[in-house]
Every structure is written in C-alpha cells, then in structure tokens.
C-alpha cells in the first residue's frame, strides 16, 4: 500500500492547553478516514496540522512524503466548516470556486479557468449555482460549492471539517453521494472530521477516534467498539445503539 499521510507522536499545545497529545497513525492512498471525537478533542487542530496551518509542538508529520507546509496546495484540498463563512462577503459562487485554481480572488479571471470552475461545479451537481450570490446559498448548496472548490485542482487528498454541520438530512445524503462518486473518479484519499456515525460505520474504510489522545484507529468494526466509544465520549449511549445495534449489522 502507498502511505500518503504519516503522523508520528504528534502533540500540539496552545500555551497551557493541550489540543493533541502523542498521536500516531498512517493513511494509505484512497483511504476514507472519518475522525470522530467530542468537541474540543483536537479534530480540527489535527486537520490544520496536516494542512501546515499549525506547527506541531512535538512529533513528525509527513503528507505525500513532505512537511505539510511544503506540500503544493493543489495536492491537498481543504473544505472548511460552512459556519465559518462570512455571509456578508459579496461574491458569486463561481468566484469562490475560482480561488481554488488561482489562490487569489479573481478580478477578471481567465476564460479557461472559469470553464474549469464551471466543470467542478457541474461535477458536484451545482452548475446551476454558478452566478448565485454566496449569501443566498443554503448550507447544503454551500458545502457542495466548497467541495467543488476543493476538487477543482484534482487533488490527491481532501480534508473535510464537519461537512454535514448545518445541512438538512436530504442535503447530507446528496453531499455524501457526490463525495463518494468523486472519490471513485479521482482516486481521492479522504480525511473527514464528522459527528455522523452512519458515515463512519458504513462508508469509511477507517475510523480514527480522538479525544486529545488517539483512542483507536482502524477499520470501523475494530475502532468502533464499546470500550473505545466509552473512552472517547465518556459514554456509549444512543450512538452506540445505532451503530452496533440497528446500523452496521443490518
């Protein structure tokens, strides 16, 4: 197997706050890894370390064989949480997708690049949104647009931070269908922070349970055990009954 991400003994501290502690794992090409954990578990911090936005306090991280900050941006796409979007920013959808190609806000833009941006929107079923203002997109539409922006450069790896947050149930299903389809077409490696147990248990190839420390990492049936869930969340509760009772074993 071809390892695309290696994290070895990673720790991140912000002053006295330990965000991530002694975490090690490897991701193979075309893996679909879901990262689960309670709020404040260090999930988003881990993604930002992989993007090179946060420096590790300790440990070593390698993405596609390089230090994260040395990886060309076209190789690793990032889909942030929708809730971070400034909806007062005046922009059309196509402009946001264009930034995925040029790393700057377009003034006039090249016709060829706009064509690619349109193609990316079509790929995620959002071609009709190209000229719509960002402020008028629903959560599900916006997440598709961010996905199109991430995929427009045909990256090797895509990192998604809670893509289902703020989207209704039908929107979530549609978004994941698009994501799986793109993974097959583009042979993507996916790392996704999520609270969506259904995706973790049914669709991920690996699950990473994080609560500052790495609790478990492996195939869903190995990672999502009673003991690991209790250690991660402090209880098993509804999620467990859904996962191990009615969900995965169906």
């Amino acid at each position: 197997m071809n390892t695309v991400i290696e994290v070895d003994d990673l720790s991140v501290r912000f002053n006295d706050y330990r965000a991530v502690c002694d975490v090690s794992f490897q991701v193979e090409a075309r893996d679909f890894v879901t990262i689960l954990g309670p709020n404040g578990a260090g999930k988003s911090t881990l993604l930002k370390v992989l993007l090179g936005l946060i420096q590790p306090t300790k440990g070593r991280v390698s993405v596609l064989g390089r230090e994260p900050e040395d990886v060309p941006p076209e190789m690793v796409a990032y889909v942030p949480q929708v809730k971070t979007l400034d909806r007062t920013f005046p922009a059309r959808t196509i402009e946001l997708v264009y930034t995925g190609l040029r790393s700057k806000w377009p003034i006039r833009g090249k016709r060829e690049l706009y064509r690619k941006a349109h193609e990316a929107l079509e790929r995620v079923g959002a071609g009709h949104l190209a000229d719509r203002p960002l402020s008028r997109l629903s959560g599900g539409e916006l997440q598709r647009v961010y996905l199109a922006r991430g995929l427009v450069r045909r990256p090797k790896i895509i990192l998604l931070d809670e893509p289902a947050t703020g989207i209704d149930a039908s929107g979530v299903v549609g978004l994941y269908d698009v994501l799986y389809s793109c993974q097959r077409q583009l042979e993507l490696t996916i790392l996704m922070v999520t609270h969506d147990w259904e995706v973790a248990s049914h669709h991920a190839t690996k699950v990473l349970l994080l609560n500052t420390h790495l609790i478990a990492y492996g195939k869903p049936d190995v990672a999502l055990t009673d003991a690991c869930l209790r250690k991660t969340f402090g209880h098993v509760g509804h999620a467990h009954s859904m996962l191990l009772g009615g969900g995965r074993n169906d």
């Binding site: 993007l51 942030p80 920013f89 402009e95 700057k104 806000w105 003034i107």
Partner: protein, 268 residues
C-alpha cells in the same frame, strides 16, 4: 465658483480631497469586510498622539505622526497575534494609550494648542504643498499595491483558506496595516482625527449595500469616496461650513439613499 478654482489653496484642497477620498474608500472595503471599523478610529487617535508629540518637539507633526501611527498599527497586530485577544480589544488598548499620550504631550507645551484642534477636526484649506507630496506618495504606493488586491480579498474572505493555499497572509496583513496607517495620517489634515473613521467606513458600507461582488464593491466605494470629496468640498465653499464634515454628511446621505433603495427593492 469657477474663479475659486484659480486659487492655489483651493486647488490643493481639491487634489487632497480626491486623493484622500480614493485612499480611504479603497482601504475602507477591507476595513469594513474584515469587521475592523473600530481600527480606523483607533489609528486616527494614534495619529493624535503622534501629532501632539510633533507639536511638542516643534517639528512638522506629520513626520512624527506617520511613524507613530505605523508603530501603533503594528503593535495592534502583534498584540492580537501574540495574545489571541479580539481585534477590537487590541485596538481599544492602543487607542486609549495614544490619546493619553497625546494629552500628556500637549500638557507639556507652554503655548496654547489651537493648532492641535485643527488636526482634531481637519483643515483641508490649510493643506500644504508638502502634505500633498506625501499624499501623492501614498497614492502611488497604493497603485503599486493593486496586484495585491486579489490576495487581500481572498484573505478577507477566509484567512484559513488563503493560508492553506500558501499565501503569506500575515505579511500581507502587515503591509495592509502599514498602508492603512499612513493613509489615516495623511487624511487627518483633510477630515480630522474625529471624522476620519467615517471616511473609511461610510463609502465602503454604502458600496456593500449595492454591490454583488467584492470587485464591484471596491470600485463603487472608490467612486463614492472621490465624488463625495469633490462635491462635498464645493458644497462647503458654497454654504460656508467646514469641508471635512460636509464631505462626511454627503457620504451619509448617499448611504441612507442606498439603504432605502435596497430595502425598497428587497421588499418590492
């Protein structure tokens, strides 16, 4: 009115008004869209500290106010980056320090500080040839920085996305802060310390109401900034009231007209 255009001080006032209108409304779009409107107030009051120090030392206040305000601007960014404090908190700290320093500097002066009040409320008709050259210099630097518009706009939209795309966001921010600080200092002579924040905010806020994209917002803001400076200046001559305040009241009228128009369009 036409004869007035032949007067050198009126010509200087007109050129200064156009240049300051352009500069403030251009940087204003970043200030407004980054939710840093309070930064304009903070930096203009930092300029007050610098002006007061210049008056105390008996040198041209602008030469002291420029580095003083730039230092304060860098200090605001540094404190925000080092401490994780909110931007408005960092601005508030430096705002208070600068005003306190300004008051202390003026209290050390032996003579009456009437000239300090000219800086508080602006005196566009007293713009000197040297002031104009400095303003031209800032405008030229701004024109040279136009290629950075796309990077600044991208980081304004989402800093993390821009950083993930390997843009040097922190360095770009320092440059933007530097140019903004210098713009505020040169604008102080035209509109005054008290009103410069409005000069930054109102054209950009008006443009935001009517613009579908950030590029259009920038163009509309600059157009409002320049045209309001020209018409405001002529109106102030005509009705014999202070120029800086007239320009800002004119901008405010444009803002409310845009607001009512947009509300009518949305509800209709």
């Amino acid at each position: 009115m036409i004869e007035m255009l032949g007067l050198p001080f009126v010509q200087r006032a007109l050129v200064a008004g156009v240049l300051v209108g352009f500069l403030a409304s251009y940087y204003g779009v970043f200030v407004v869209q980054r939710h840093l409107s309070f930064l304009g107030t903070g930096l203009s009051h930092a300029a007050f500290g610098g002006v007061a120090l210049g008056l105390l030392l008996g040198v041209e206040p602008l030469w002291i106010a420029v580095p003083f305000t730039v230092l304060v601007s860098l200090g605001i960014n540094w404190v925000r980056g080092q401490t994780g404090l909110a931007g408005d908190t960092s601005v508030g700290i430096f705002f208070a320090i600068s005003v306190a320093l300004g008051v202390v500097f003026l209290s050390f002066r032996q003579q009456y500080s009437a000239d300090a009040f000219a800086y508080l409320f602006g005196s566009i008709l007293a713009v000197s040839r040297a002031d104009l050259w400095v303003t031209f210099g800032v405008a030229a630097a701004t024109l040279l920085s136009f290629p950075l518009w796309g990077r600044w706009a991208y980081a304004t939209f989402d800093r993390d996305l821009a950083r993930a795309d390997r843009l040097t966001v922190d360095r770009d921010d320092y440059l933007l802060s530097l140019l903004l600080a210098i713009t505020i200092v040169v604008a102080v002579k035209v509109v005054g310390i008290v009103l410069i924040a409005a000069f930054l905010v109102i054209p950009a806020a008006t443009a935001r109401l009517v613009s579908p994209t950030f590029l259009v917002m920038t163009i509309v803001s600059v157009a409002i900034g320049i045209l309001s400076a020209v018409f405001g200046l002529f109106m102030s001559f005509w009705i014999d009231v202070p120029s800086g305040a007239t320009i800002i009241l004119l901008q405010a009228i444009v803002f409310f007209v845009a607001l009512l128009t947009v509300r009518r369009r949305v509800s209709g």
